[in-house]
């Protein structure tokens, strides 16, 4: 049974889960999408703990609202849409929290610089350092452009799929990707010089 299920496509698995409530089908989908989704959400948020929570939340939503999936759409676009929405919500929540938590402590009009914990030379390797710098640059890119760039250049999705996930037309997707790339290029100038 398990072998047979593994041969099924994503759409067939979710339909199986919808109709017969087959838990194994759901588990296979989780196995297939846990890493891509973790990668996508981590690149967007830059926080691993929050990223794991968001991906788990995404899977729970798939489990609870399996009936809201229609076979017209691809399962991957559906699950990426859920993850993207949750990641955006989490990102905004974190940003609000940071703004209030920094300014609310201490004396009036006094702000504090946060210690940069993302770059730790004792932990990071050479390639690791490069990754950290790129990740830092990615987080500085505008939210809408960043999401499009991650989906295209890191996740390798097509423009059509991205337009479905983001709910915008393909032209908008392309312009967002180009603007995001341009911003990144500007931020990563030092790496290219080396």
């Amino acid at each position: 049974m398990d072998i047979k299920l593994r041969e099924l496509s994503d759409e067939e698995l979710i339909l199986e889960f919808q109709k017969n409530n087959t838990e194994d089908a759901f588990n296979i989908l989780v196995q297939r999408y846990k890493n891509p989704l973790t990668n996508f959400v981590f690149r967007f948020l830059g926080d691993y703990t929050a990223c794991a929570d968001v991906v788990q939340e995404t899977m729970i939503k798939v489990y609870m609202y399996k009936d809201s999936y229609s076979s017209v759409a691809k399962f991957s676009t559906w699950v990426y849409t859920i993850a993207g929405n949750l990641a955006r919500t989490e990102y905004r929540r974190q940003r609000r929290q940071n703004i209030f938590s920094i300014n609310d402590y201490g004396e009036e009009h006094q702000t504090y610089d946060l210690p940069d914990e993302t770059y730790r030379p004792d932990v990071a390797t050479d390639s690791g350092i490069k990754d950290e710098i790129i990740q830092k640059a990615l987080l500085k890119v505008k939210e809408t452009y960043r999401e499009a760039v991650i989906l295209r250049d890191i996740q390798g999705l097509s423009y059509e799929e991205i337009s479905e996930i983001l709910g915008v037309n393909e032209g908008t997707v392309k312009s967002r990707i180009n603007r995001g790339r341009a911003q990144l290029q500007e931020l990563l100038k030092s790496i290219y010089k080396e």
Binding site: T38, M64, I154, Y192
Partner: protein, 246 residues
Amino acid sequence: MENDEKKYEDVIKALKGLQEVKAPANFEADLQRRINSENISKEEKKSFWQNIFSPSRLIPSLGLVTVAVVIFFVVDTNSEEMDNPFLIEPRVREDVFAVTDFEEVEKKQEELSKQKLLKKDSPVIEQRTNEGQLRSSELKTSEDESIAGREKSDFDELLTDEKDDSQEQGLSSGAYSAVESTLTTVTESPQPTAPTEADAEVTTGQSITKDELNFRQIQLNEEQQKAVNELKNQVQSLNKTSKTQK
């Protein structure tokens, strides 16, 4: 599009070269645990209406509503009391006149009393004028002028009586003259015309025939009746002869 990808080749390479971040090892176990806990909480969840109408929520909300209503009325009455009386403009009383001359007041009072009396008497006078009209119409129909003359004299007497009565009741001379003029126009019509049934209907409200209007039918004696019959016979015979001659 290809130009764009060439333009940002370095960026694309850098992004594709990033190490893939993997999910934690205990991801699936954690997920299963969370799903089970979500299921339990979902089963325990009550419906929206059950939540609203549960006594734990209904009682405090009702209390709040009553307090709000009480406060609203208390505040409302207070707000009226708080108005500064020196800042409020006095009400304009239409029933109070500002008069400087006392004689004017007396005159006005007299006029008012006269007007009131006129209003009281006017229906009686109207009724009487109607009666007068009826009588005058009768006079017009009657052939005997002497009877009409007597009637007229009787009517004049009635008018004088009314005049006396009105003077006794304090009717103003102007008002009386108005009434008198209406009566004289009815009684002193120069050439009375025969009243129609419609006129009678207008005045009385009921249809009256000519025979009924002739209320002064004289009861004749037997001798008088005989004389009248003889006269009628003579007239008929004369009519016959005239017809035959023709």
